[in-house]
């Protein structure tokens, strides 16, 4: 079937969007709608699945098939759907609380199984819908309603978690950089396997300014390292900087007389060790890496799952119900 030429508005549902004015979610919604229009996928073949939380209202605003499920379990619903309907384009929408706290078990297993699904983790480092408690990505010492003396929890690093769980496409984006976010969404869609995108998203009510260091255009140019496969790791507008490797750690250098781009590390998406190192830098003089941190090709779960069915039918033919009911030994009473 030929895919119609879609516009962004074809993916806008008739429901009123009810996020707080100024929320980072608006930008992400807009980029997803724009991106879906250009993916060459029939609109009816998109399935958007979420858990619980501010971000998880997302499916209601998408003119696609959508399922707003229960807290933390979106990857599990997506797994059952994708295993049985591999032709669908499945998108999981979740937040740091939904996915990394109550749903921690499901995301790690979805990643290791490598379903060909897309996972968008809206990370605002706070619980929004329950009105401002610290989350599993909140920094140590954070004062919130539930931590008046500061959080004592060590936060998760979502990129490290995804690397450890066997993710095959692991990327980071930021809500306000529309063009880059769209390219990450396209990259995830094109990847055969689980695309995991951590999206820094500002909660302007309960955790405003969490990502200010790289959210404004000027700050971003100074502090964000946009990763590109095969390109040197350099950034900065006023002062050009680069990352070099000293032993097994990164070091920030200014480019100029002592160092040039040629001295800097070249990004290799297939280098797991380098991805580990990149996942660890963030602030304290280091830039925040954005883009694809790691990528590998591995067979997808649903392919292997359906291949076993095909193989069984090939070998045994379509199931004969009468033979199944009879089983091994029968006897006749006359």
């Amino acid at each position: 079937m030929t895919v119609p030429v879609y516009k962004k508005k074809d993916f806008v549902s008739d429901q009123v969007v009810r996020w707080c004015p100024g929320c980072g979610d608006y930008s992400i919604l807009s980029q997803v709608q724009s991106t879906f229009a250009g993916l060459g996928v029939l609109r009816e073949n998109f399935a958007v699945i979420s858990g619980i939380g501010c971000s998880s209202r997302f499916p209601y605003y998408m003119e696609t098939y959508g399922f707003h499920t229960i807290h933390g379990r979106a990857p599990a619903f997506a797994s059952g759907l994708k295993a049985t309907r591999p032709e669908l384009s499945v998108w999981v929408i979740s937040g740091d609380g939904d996915m990394l706290s109550i749903g921690g078990n499901h995301i790690i297993h979805a990643l290791r199984r490598n379903f060909d699904i897309n996972v968008l983790l809206f990370n605002n480092r706070i619980y929004g819908l329950t009105k401002g408690q610290y989350s599993p990505t909140s920094e140590v010492g954070k004062k919130t309603k539930s931590t008046p003396f500061g959080s004592i929890d060590q936060p998760f690093n979502p990129i490290q978690l995804a690397l450890g769980a066997g993710g095959t496409l692991i990327a980071r984006a930021i809500d306000v950089d529309a063009k880059h976010l769209q390219s990450m969404l396209e990259t995830s869609h094109a990847h055969k396997g689980t695309g995991f995108i951590e999206i820094y998203q500002n909660c302007n009510i309960f955790n405003d300014g969490a990502f200010d260091e790289y959210r404004g255009k000027g700050e971003r140019e100074e502090n964000a390292l946009y990763l590109e496969h095969g390109k040197p790791m350099v950034w900065g507008k006023t002062v050009r900087k680069g990352l070099i490797l000293e032993g097994t750690t990164f070091k920030v250098v200014e480019l100029g007389e002592a160092y040039s781009e040629d001295d800097c590390c070249i990004h290799d998406e297939g280098n797991y060790i380098q991805a580990q190192l990149l996942s660890q830098i963030n602030g304290n003089g280091f830039p925040v890496p954005l883009g694809v941190m790691y990528r590998e090709q591995r067979p997808t779960y649903e392919t292997a799952f359906q291949d076993q069915v095909t193989a069984a039918r090939g070998k045994l033919g379509n199931g004969d119900l009468e033979a199944l009911v009879k089983g091994g030994d029968t006897w006749r009473v006359s």
Partner: protein, 616 residues
């Protein structure tokens, strides 16, 4: 080796029914020979019922009472409903198995005991100071002592097995003796051994089996002639097989998938006693059945719902602790109104409870154990073979009413076996679901209703023009949009309740067995067999008693109130502290009485019969 034959000589006696209990260590292979005897008896045309009774530990400390694994079966020349209250014969492989099972052997019953296992260390493991064979413990029984360990070892010696390997064959020696004693054909077991074991291991087991037979025949320990239990002649004509509950459920699900022409997705997490459903379904891939071993119970049900959303038959199977974990997702299935089958193979609770023992104590959990009013259709098989029909019925109702359905099996049904008259597959209706399609010029309403069933349309992703959203937030009637409107919530709550009650139109009229006045014995699930036998027994004594058995627990049959009103008294035997009885009292305002048992064991016929005789 000593053989003490105190059995009375007799003719080649023909018996109506026999109850055998095999008991040994968890590693002695008692379940294996129990199943072999069952299969052989089934092939010989007996009616039968079985009760495996094993510990939760895979290999509890050898020789201890905690490690005793038992298998009881009754086989008969007539229609029977239970594995028997009390055994006629006990095969005991060690002192612990002997003393732990004496209470289940009738006075004067036959004991065949492996007396190679009565050294002082064996007695110590069983917490015994003296040998029960010598201290008078067994003087009221007919005891046949056989050195099974040594005889087996001598038998297989030429095959070059290690001592440990040789020891493992001793269950077949015991089985061979029992086959001789009850004149069974060893052919089916011999074929089975050849298919399951290779080379010298097959040879060794076969040698032990035949040696057991020959030993029983030549040593004349049983005083000459073996017994006979002729084939049951009151079976309906047809083709039969022997089947266990979990296997019947799996075959039923596969049959439903075939008749519905839809893939069946079984999402599950291993749990006793439900895991065998997964094992049975996993090879059925060419029947359109796929199995998914999820990361936990919650993921298992969520994946099943995801599959249902996509148009498959989503099924999840578990036991009580898993139901607790799935509760929130079951509530979601209720509000998004998607077909889903939840199989609960109940076990003893609360918490981890008694994983390998049976109970019926999750009825109120599945009935009410969710947040909000969340009505859940519930039906229960009554016997192992009945699981087949119940599985098909559950899928049919889930499709027809767009609803989750719970199947309440239990450990007794799951692991029990009985002869099953093979169904005429042509009589099982096709049940292809109808998926919604876009209609030109009409706006799709995801929560519109079929007036007959109140079902909403099943619009699966991939259908052009029907893009819509479902979820756990309350839905606006018809449109399915999120709605916080107060009257709409009440309307939808009542609608979901009414929809489940509509299932009554698919429930046949309630059958009364026996009298329709006097005492009504009202049962559900696996209590059927013992209650039916007890009611028959009471009626033989001239008592006015009827038996009403419920297949549907929610909704209750439309005519149940009128049926119960015919009786002076209602007695509800249940393997819980009184759950159905609460529902009955609340629903019909009658003074129904509870007969409760929570020992991890099914009712014996006598337990119910005694209570009936007290009541009438």
């Amino acid at each position: 080796m000593s053989t003490t034959a105190r059995i009375e000589p007799g003719p080649n006696a023909s018996l109506d029914s026999v109850v055998i209990r095999f008991a040994g260590d968890s590693g002695d292979g008692m379940q294996l020979i129990g199943n072999q005897f069952t299969r052989t008896s089934a092939l010989a045309g007996n009616d039968l019922a079985t009760l495996p009774d094993f510990p939760a530990e895979i290999r509890a400390p050898a020789g201890t009472r905690a490690g005793v694994s038992g298998f009881q079966l009754q086989f008969a020349n007539h229609d029977i409903f239970t594995p028997g209250d009390i055994a006629d014969v006990l095969v005991a492989m060690n002192p612990a198995a002997l003393v732990a099972n004496l209470g289940r052997l009738k006075d004067g019953g036959l004991i065949i005991v492996n007396n190679d296992k009565f050294a002082s260390r064996d007695l110590k493991l069983a917490n015994l100071e003296q040998s029960p064979l010598e201290d008078g413990t067994v003087e009221n029984y007919r005891v046949v002592e056989v050195g099974i360990t040594k005889l087996t070892k001598d038998t297989v010696e030429p095959l070059g097995l290690t001592t440990k390997e040789a020891d493992r064959c001793k269950n077949f020696f015991a089985l061979g003796m029992m086959y001789w004693l009850y004149s069974r054909n060893m052919g089916p077991t011999e074929d089975w051994v050849r298919s399951k074991f290779k080379g010298k291991y097959a040879d060794a087991n076969l040698a032990a089996l035949r040696a057991g037979w020959s030993y029983a025949e030549t040593v004349e320990i049983f005083a000459g002639q073996p017994y006979m239990v002729p084939r049951a002649d009151d079976f309906d004509a047809g083709e039969y097989r022997n089947i266990m509950g979990n296997a019947a459920l799996a075959v039923g699900l596969a049959a439903a998938a075939t008749k519905a022409d839809r893939p069946l997705f079984y999402g599950t997490y291993p749990i006793t006693p439900a895991s065998d459903i997964l094992h049975a379904l996993a090879p059925f891939k060419n029947y359109g059945v796929v199995t998914y071993q999820a990361e936990d119970e919650i993921a298992a049900v969520c994946a099943a719902i995801g599959a249902s959303w996509g148009g498959s038959i989503g099924v999840t199977g578990t036991s009580g602790p898993g139901i607790a974990l799935k509760a929130e997702a079951m509530g979601l299935a209720n509000i998004v109104e998607l077909p889903l089958i939840v199989v609960n193979v109940q076990r003893g609770g609360p918490s981890t409870g008694l994983p390998t023992k049976t109970e019926q104590s999750d009825l109120l959990q599945v009935m009410y154990g969710r947040n909000g009013d969340s009505p859940m259709p519930i039906l229960a098989p009554k016997t192992p073979a009945d699981c087949f029909e119940v599985a098909i019925e559950a899928v049919k109702i889930a499709f027809k009413y767009m609803t989750p359905v719970v199947i309440m099996s239990d450990g007794y049904i799951a692991n029990g076996a009985e002869p099953w008259k093979l169904p005429d597959l042509d009589t099982i209706p096709e049940m292809k679901p109808t998926f919604a399609k876009a209609v030109e010029g009409e706006e799709f309403q995801a929560y519109s209703r079929n007036p007959e069933t109140l079902a909403r349309p099943w619009a699966i992703p991939g259908t052009p023009g029907l893009e819509h959203r479902v979820g756990g937030l309350e839905k606006q009637h018809l449109t399915g949009h999120v709605s916080y409107d107060p009257p709409n919530h009440q309307f939808m709550q009542e609608l979901r309740r009414d929809k489940v009650n509509k299932i009554r139109q698919d429930i046949p009229a309630t059958e009364i067995h026996g009298d329709d006045s006097g005492l009504c014995v009202l049962t559900w699930g696996s209590t059927y067999g013992a209650a039916r036998t007890a009611v028959n027994g009471a009626r033989k004594q001239g008592k006015k008693v009827g038996h009403v058995h419920l297949r549907w627990l929610n909704p209750l049959p439309a005519d149940l109130g009128d049926v119960l009103a015919k009786y002076d008294r209602v007695l509800v035997p249940e393997l819980n502290l009184g759950q159905l009885v609460k529902l009955i009292r609340a629903e019909y305002l009658i003074d129904a009485q509870s007969l409760s048992k929570v020992q991890g064991q099914p009712f014996t016929t006598n337990e119910i019969l005694s209570r009936i005789l007290e009541e009438v």
